[in-house]
């Protein structure tokens, strides 16, 4: 088979993190009862008019600036018409010829991926088909979305996924969106064509219904194979919208919303043109939060973290925020803190499938726990036990240590008597030591630690045993 090269572009629809909808004051919430977050405006009842949510505009500009776009000082909204029951006005308010931001780029693993445009638009309602009936929930209707469209600069499914991961991270860092794919905050619609190396760009297909990055990769890989086979047999790829069937691992033609794709766009007469001043752009630029790449460099260069650890910490904004919040209390322990978060906390989060903020343990508590280890108040082993209790009870570490009675005790008499007891009951081990097998000391230390439930510092136990054996 001949070598085919894929040409990929990606369109992402991303839900903005606003309190209220794009054109009315209905709250934006996930999981509310159907049709409980609606009003005449988002239901498109007769006589209503849209009023633009300025917060949404600001968030969209933020992303525009972070992706090196030009911000359009004079942009317009447009109506996009199609009939579908979950589109109550018969048109969607979106942007068409005058997008809010355009001509930007992102650098992903050293490769430049150009951003064609970023537009602001309203979401539709949600149709649920049950048997013969279709039910519609309009809660989602009017929620602000941004559409981020790349140029066809992507050359592999892996690169597409890397771009999406990077974009998602930026959206989270900018606090523009939670970009939670499971909640439908971040919907990816790649388009793909293949060509023989050096040939002109072929006919593309658009892919929908991809609710995970893994699906994006699988669907693109499938399309490369499918299109290459068609072309190598001398056939032609049809331009169409396909959906991804996750269980069968194949693409199939989408049930079309409208027979012809003529959306009859025209400028939205109910909204004045959107004017954005240079001063506003400058202000938003100044207030841009630190981006993931920059943060990673900070972690490596200023805090001296291992690059692999820094990479993990920045992979979720909430995680990196949490790390830095903890670090404020124990600024001398950047690497031990990183280790702790990556090994202990990360494990729990994965196990419980929750975010760090849902864990319910405040950064000062983690800092306190680690500082207790540093100060010799508890052992590292005990710290792990204490942490397990913290996850359950949300109590402060010092309280738990006191309750469990696992704090390190500096009572030499007590320690001496316990050591004596251990030596007495392990006479054959003591003999071994005396015959020169000095490594058995660790067994003895372990026995003492067991008996004392880690209350004494292991170094101290070691020292006392040595004294007794040699004395």
């Amino acid at each position: 088979m001949m070598e085919f090269e894929p040409i990929i572009g990606v369109e992402v629809h991303c839900q903005l993190k606003t309190e209220s909808k794009l054109f009315c004051s209905c709250p934006v919430e996930y999981g509310a009862p159907p049709n409980s977050l609606v009003c005449p405006v988002c239901l498109g009842l007769p006589g209503v008019l849209p009023v633009l949510n300025n917060r949404a505009v600001e968030l969209a500009i933020r992303l525009g600036l972070a992706t090196n776009c030009s911000i359009t000082e004079y942009s317009r909204f447009a109506r996009k018409h199609y009939f579908y029951p979950d589109l109550p006005k018969g048109y969607q308010i979106t942007q068409y010829q005058e997008p809010l931001a355009h001509s930007g780029y992102l650098i992903v693993n050293g490769e430049k991926i150009r951003i064609k445009r970023i537009i602001l638009e309203e979401d539709s309602g949600k149709s649920m088909h049950c048997g013969n009936e279709t039910l519609i929930d309009f809660n989602r209707c009017g929620i602000p979305l941004i559409e981020i469209v790349t140029e066809p600069d992507i050359r592999s499914p892996r690169q597409a996924v890397e771009y999406l991961r990077h974009l998602r991270l930026i959206l989270q860092y900018l606090e523009v969106s939670d970009a939670d794919m499971e909640k439908g905050h971040f919907r990816c619609e790649p388009n793909i064509s293949v060509r023989r190396k050096g040939a002109s760009i072929g006919t593309r297909t658009e892919l929908k219904n991809l609710n995970s990055l893994r699906n994006v990769r699988d669907a693109l890989e499938y399309e490369i194979k499918r299109q290459s086979e068609i072309l190598s047999k001398g056939g032609e790829v049809r331009q169409e919208t396909l959906y991804w069937d996750e269980t069968k691992m194949v693409t199939g033609p989408m049930r079309s919303k409208e027979e012809s794709e003529d959306y009859r766009y025209f400028p939205e007469p109910d909204l004045p043109p959107l004017l954005i001043t240079q001063e506003e752009i400058a202000r938003i630029k100044k207030e841009l939060p630190i981006l993931p790449e920059k943060r990673k460099q900070y972690f490596i260069q200023k805090l001296g973290l291992k690059p692999a650890d820094a990479e993990i910490l920045i992979s979720e904004k909430s995680l990196a925020d949490y790390y830095e919040e903890c670090l404020k209390h124990i600024p001398d322990m950047p690497q031990p803190l990183a280790n702790w978060i990556i090994t202990e906390i990360f494990g729990i989060l994965n196990e419980k499938k929750i975010t760090i903020n849902e864990l319910g343990i405040k950064p000062p508590s983690i800092a306190k726990l680690l500082s207790m280890v540093r100060n010799g108040e508890i052992t590292g082993k005990v710290a792990k036990e204490v942490f397990t209790v913290m996850v359950k009870t949300k109590d402060e570490p010092d309280k738990i240590v006191a309750e469990l009675g696992v704090g390190i005790v500096d009572d030499e008499n007590l320690l001496n008597s316990i050591v004596d007891e251990v030596l007495k009951t392990n006479l054959e081990v003591v003999e071994k030591y005396k015959r020169g097998k000095t490594t058995v000391i660790s067994f003895l230390v372990g026995e003492v630690m067991k008996k004392t439930k880690g209350k004494f510092l292991p170094q101290k136990v070691n020292k006392i045993i040595l004294q007794k054996l040699q004395g």
Binding site: L45, P46, L49, L52, H81, P85, G90, Y91, P272
Partner: protein
């Protein structure tokens, strides 16, 4: 015919109320009595709220002790065109497709009227979705002209104009997209004001052509129109196209009484050409003659792109209408055709049966004008023409303060006369459409002369947001 309470102006009624010569109930009852006498022939109302109106009037009789801080509209019976939402009342737009729809909220103008204690007496008839110039294209039957029931009342606010003319309300709200307040006012012999686009909130006005629609005021005197505008007008956070203006709301009323010797009047020559009924022309010219010695200057001016206004207007109007009416899809509310098997069938049958001929014509033509490959040629060109027409007005308003023209080329015509010929019907808007395209304030007032006993309308067009001057000149002419 002796004048009854229902024939008086807002100001006259307020005087009587304050002198305790009449009660609020007397006024409402007089209007109700007139409605009962006339409504059968005129058909100006779609819904009437007589009981609620009388209850409210009785309540005011009991509660109002002091007139000092009472709105001048308090207790005044007002009619509302049935394309403006009044909470808990039917809002039909004279269409079968909305014949069962109850408004879930008050339009901003209605909220303001209610806050001022106005009594909403009923919802008036119109051309379906305000698309028409005769009020014949209503699911609820045609409106008759109170001066001669064989004639049309004009449209689309024909119901509002007719009921004000016959005393079935003291004043009324209509909507004006291309002349729908001014032309029926001229046919029925009342005053009809279309404010500047952005002066009055459109929130709660069922959208027809959003870039042109404006809620207008209909009354029997210029001052009453001004009073009504002062109450319903003003910036509204719910309408992004409404405009914040610095003046206080009551500046009109005083200004109306002043002289006009500082006013320069322009007479656009393109409005006095063939197509204009010579008698109508004469009635308007006589008014101009009468005002000439009293103002600073009267001069002929030119608005060279006037001839393209009708084409551009109807293109924009239909394009926007096709979009605004897309929401009537039988999914959530409104008329739904029976026994539809598929979604497509539901749309096609419900919309096919629910909309009338003129509405369907405009939806089809409008959708065509917006379609791929035709957009630039039609909608794009129409927008360019709109800019040229606006520029024409900007230019003449450097020289004059207002323009005077006829409101319509003819007096009220016979029912059925133009209904089969849409182009002929569209031409009756020829003098009102340019001000709509430019978003300018314009008023129609009756001329002193009548033509074969029928009223003739004179139109005054002003600069953007200069309703004050328009009303001043109108009030001066009214005093002739």
């Amino acid at each position: 015919m002796t004048r009854e309470l229902c024939d008086l102006s807002i100001i006259e009624l307020r005087n009587l109320l304050e002198k305790r010569k009449v009660s609020f109930s007397d006024i409402t009852n007089s209007v109700v009595k007139r409605i009962n006498e006339k409504e059968k022939t005129i058909n100006g109302y779609i819904s009437l709220f007589i009981e609620q109106a009388q209850e409210l009037a009785q309540k005011l009789d009991k509660e109002v002790k002091d007139f000092n801080n009472l709105s001048i509209l308090c207790g005044i019976p007002i009619a509302i065109k049935d394309n403006i939402l009044v909470k808990d009342a039917l809002i039909t737009c004279a269409s079968k497709i909305l014949s069962n729809f109850i408004a879930p909220y008050d339009a901003t103008v209605i909220r303001r009227l209610k806050e001022n204690g106005a009594i909403i007496i009923g919802k008036t008839n119109l051309d379906e979705f305000a698309m028409g110039s005769s009020s014949e294209m209503s699911f609820y039957g045609a409106v008759s002209n109170p001066h001669n029931p064989e004639l049309v009342a004009g449209g689309s606010s024909g119901g509002s104009a007719a009921v004000v003319a016959y005393g079935g309300a003291i004043c009324a709200l209509g909507s004006d997209t291309g002349g729908s307040v001014r032309q029926p006012a001229s046919f029925c012999g009342v005053v009809g004001l279309k404010p500047t686009y952005g002066r009055v909130s459109r929130f709660g006005l069922v959208a027809f052509a959003s870039s042109l629609d404006q809620i207008g005021q209909i009354a029997r005197t210029v001052k009453d129109c001004a009073i009504l505008l002062s109450v319903v007008g003003g910036w509204d956070s719910a309408d992004s196209t409404s405009v914040k203006l610095p003046e206080a709301a009551d500046w009109w009323i005083k200004a109306i009484e002043s002289d006009i010797n500082d006013i320069k009047i322009g007479i656009p020559k393109e409005y006095f050409v063939s197509g204009l009924d010579p008698d109508v022309g004469k009635a308007v010219t006589n008014m101009i003659k009468a005002i000439t010695p009293h103002c600073k200057e009267v001069k002929e001016v030119s608005l060279p792109h006037t001839q393209y206004a009708i084409s551009a207007y109807y293109l924009i109007n239909m394009a926007e209408a096709s979009s605004n009416l897309a929401r009537y899809d039988a999914v959530k509310y409104g008329y739904r055709a029976k026994d539809c098997k598929t979604l497509r069938e539901l749309y096609e049958k419900s919309r096919g049966e629910g909309f009338g001929e003129e509405v369907k014509r405009r939806i089809i033509l409008g959708a065509y004008a917006l379609s791929k490959g035709y957009y630039e040629e039609y909608y794009g060109t129409a927008q360019k023409v709109r800019t040229l027409i606006r520029n024409d007005f900007d230019n003449v308003f450097k020289e004059v303060s207002v323009l005077i023209t006829p409101t319509s080329p003819t007096c009220a015509f016979r029912k059925g006369e133009k209904i089969t010929d849409p182009l002929k019907m569209y031409l009756s808007d020829i003098y009102t459409v340019p001000a709509s395209l430019a978003g300018l304030p314009a008023i129609s007032i009756p001329c002193k002369d009548r033509v074969q006993g029928l009223p003739v309308g004179l139109q005054i067009i002003g600069k953007p947001f200069d309703e004050k001057t328009v009303l001043r000149v109108a009030a001066w002419l009214e005093r002739l």
